[in-house]
Symmetry: C2
Subunit: 464 residues, 2 copies
């Protein structure tokens, strides 16, 4: 029972779709952030659920680790095969299987990306709203319980996955959920798999909730004298029940990044980027209500964008935040992190993060989906500089501690992956033992994305 034996059997099963070339292994071992190159032993390219089931049966028999791979846009190394074995590349399973326009849902394979899905949906007048910025795959987005800019209005993957098909550790294929909008039957395995980072099963099909493309859409930006003013404006907006479609905070460092990376030409002050969805009258009413709140906090420099191309330019810039943050640290890598706090604690958390970065001598941006209380810090690091890496780690830990102290969570959307395992016990305490019990019950051999999310027992003991 070895990885080599599994690869030999998989090669027989998949032929040329089981690849062990250096180039392909290297590609699948890369990541967008600071984790070192981690090539798997082989890459498998299944084309059907039945093939995924056969692959899992072989790897189960041979005790061979399997790490699912989508768009590789995860930010905590979730797709890296840290214990070797097979990188299960789902990108060939990228079809839309059905669009049920009448029921506002679509059935898709996990390899389809967010942008490709919305391209295919365009003619139907419907769209899939969850937008983490990166052109992530649906399987990966479900795996990390992704959210992003529109979650404040439409929810995260948690609210937008109705049902799943998944292949379990031994190759068993299960279906969770139905096409009905709700159900009270049985344990909620859909929501157990969403956010499980590929450690409980391989998602092979998703039924997703869709939304009607709104009759009217408008975007706007404005700026504030201080980050507190900007955040307090957000807090009051959410508390007022305004159905914001997007409400994004950029701190002055993030704006500097956009100026460098995208020649944005914005004053280096805290900004809010906004989007409103609704009927024409509804959007006008929302914009007026928001402007009234924002002006109380001294908002200036209003720009609005109602034409699609202007809005797209705005959000394209916003979506380049990762690269714009990286641009601040010439030649460095980016250590991105995120937390989510109750919205009443948002100003405290953001200011604390800014102060921590200064105190630790780090260059960091802050940008966030602040309507949810969720924000990112992007620290420029040189992975060769042990001292800087240690300070970046201290920053991340301090930010996580801040979030927990304020009643929040150590990640709103990036997940745990490799980077935040030491925080699991801090956040979840005795509940971690029940997560371990589920992992053991579903994957007793520990072959599904091993080394992710659940901390090694030694680490858990040390943290106690």
């Amino acid at each position: 029972m070895t990885i080599a034996a599994a690869i030999a059997e998989l090669s027989t099963l998949l032929g040329a779709r089981l690849v062990t070339s250096q180039a392909d292994r290297t590609l699948h071992g890369q990541n967008e952030t600071y984790y070192p190159l981690t090539p798997p032993d082989a890459v498998a390219y299944p084309e059907t659920t039945a093939e995924v089931s056969q692959i899992m049966a072989i790897c189960h028999a041979q005790d061979c680790p399997v790490t699912p791979y989508g768009a590789a846009s995860s930010l905590e190394g979730q797709h890296l095969a840290v214990q070797g074995g097979v990188s299960l590349d789902m990108t060939r399973m990228n079809r839309v299987l059905a669009v049920n326009a009448e029921d506002l849902n679509a059935v898709v394979q996990p390899g389809i990306t967010r942008i490709a899905l919305n391209e295919e949906l365009r003619a139907t007048g419907l769209f899939f709203p969850v937008d983490p910025g990166a052109n992530a795959s649906m399987g990966g987005m479900a795996g990390t319980r992704a959210s992003g800019t529109t979650a404040v209005r439409y929810g995260t993957m948690r609210e937008n996955v109705l049902a799943l098909e998944a292949v379990m550790a031994d190759g068993t294929v299960i279906r969770t959920g139905t096409k009905a909008r709700k159900s009270s039957t049985g344990y909620d395995l859909t929501h157990l798999l969403v956010g499980s980072e590929g450690t409980l099963g391989i998602i092979t099909e998703l039924t997703l909730r869709l939304q009607g493309i709104p009759e009217a859409t408008a975007a706007a930006t404005c700026r504030f004298a201080s980050v507190q003013d900007a955040v307090n404006c957000v807090i009051l907006t959410i508390q007022s029940g305004l159905p914001m479609a997007r409400i994004e905070l950029l701190d002055h460092m993030m704006v500097r990044g956009f100026n460098l990376y995208a020649d944005a030409g914005l004053p280096e002050m805290p900004h809010l980027f906004l989007e409103f969805h609704g009927s024409k009258a509804g959007v006008a009413e929302q914009m007026a209500s928001f402007a009234e709140i924002a002006e109380d906090f001294g908002a200036t420099g209003w720009r609005t964008a109602t034409r699609a191309e202007d809005r797209n330019a705005l959000w394209k810039m916003r979506h380049s935040a990762h690269y714009a943050s990286a641009a601040l640290g010439k030649g460095k890598r980016l250590w991105p992190t995120d937390v989510c706090v109750p919205i009443s604690q948002l100003a405290t958390a953001v200011v604390q993060a800014q102060d921590d970065a200064v105190r630790l001598g780090l260059t960091s941006t802050i940008v966030g989906h602040v309507g949810d209380g969720n924000f990112h810090a992007g620290v420029s690091v040189n992975p060769e500089d042990a001292d800087e890496m240690a300070r970046a780690e201290a920053f991340t830990k301090a930010l996580a501690d801040t979030a927990l102290r304020l009643g929040g969570t150590v990640s709103g959307e990036h997940g745990i992956g490799l980077g935040k395992q030491s925080l699991m016990n801090k956040e979840h305490g005795p509940a971690v033992a029940y997560m371990r019990a589920i992992k053991q019950a579903f994957d007793s051999k520990g072959i599904l994305n091993p080394g992710k999310m659940l901390p090694p027992l030694a680490m858990a003991k040390a943290a106690e």
Copy 2:
């Protein structure tokens, strides 16, 4: 290790709050539907989480079944101690622990009821929207993943429980979730416990999402020549993206029930009962848009209610559907059942249910939260009449089969409890084995609400 030994220990722990009187046991063995009286061996009245933990530790050591008890409004016998042991009456843990108005959430104990919670919230301008009709307890509503009339707008308990505290089988206290609106850390134990019918842990605290009381609210009713017209109006309304707060279907039999029970004086035709929430202008816009759709399907007999007392009278009548259905069968009990289907299949499902009732010679109402594709049938039965009970069971099974055939679920909100275990394998197939694995991992002694939800293995085998 016996139930008697557990009761003796619990008596020492709780004193007068461990009750074995015939009267109290009988009270806790009753139910709203057709299940026979099922008294527990004893009733425990804990007042703190620490006491619940001690109770579970004792019952775990003694292998004594524990069945949580809230408002006893469950419709599939979830609160009945079918294997004896202790009925864990949570009604003394009924406090609001915190209202975080700024964060739109509240922390409550499980014994508080829906109406009591909203009374306490009134001064804050916030409300808890989930409304299953019955004045259920929050713990019970989470346990059965309840929803009701407003789920179409605000979601079910699945969407409205942010975090939980729970006591597990051996007395371990865990916390799941945080006060942040979203998180990507760890397995989603909150959603695993929501809907688990008390079989995985005892909920001792809930953090609930709240909503701002809308600036304007209006209610309306109208009627249609056929149930198809009414349902097709609902389908188009939902597909148009109108943010309905309530959209309820009553078939002609249900209207007859209201006329008998509440002297409603309504023509015995299919009706829709509606509610609109929003700004004043928004509500007016929504009502006009709905009226335009409804008139295309021949809606007549419009009545509107904008004053609070008129709206309350309307929804009080709607909430009496259980008793109004019972009124149709003089001296009989009610066998209520529910299913949920994709909305495009709603007309097919409703008409099939009506036809099945006629075919089987049964008196049944249909009333439902049709915006979700969810509806109830209420069959009048005499539990002494074996033939009628067999026909009612055949009706329930046929309705469940219809729902599954149309891509739906065998229960949208009543749950599985005692009554629908034989349908678990039909709906979930191989996934049931993974539910069993979770149950085994969390409660290896099987003391938490035994005999509920998961079918006995013999039944599961027979169903294959």
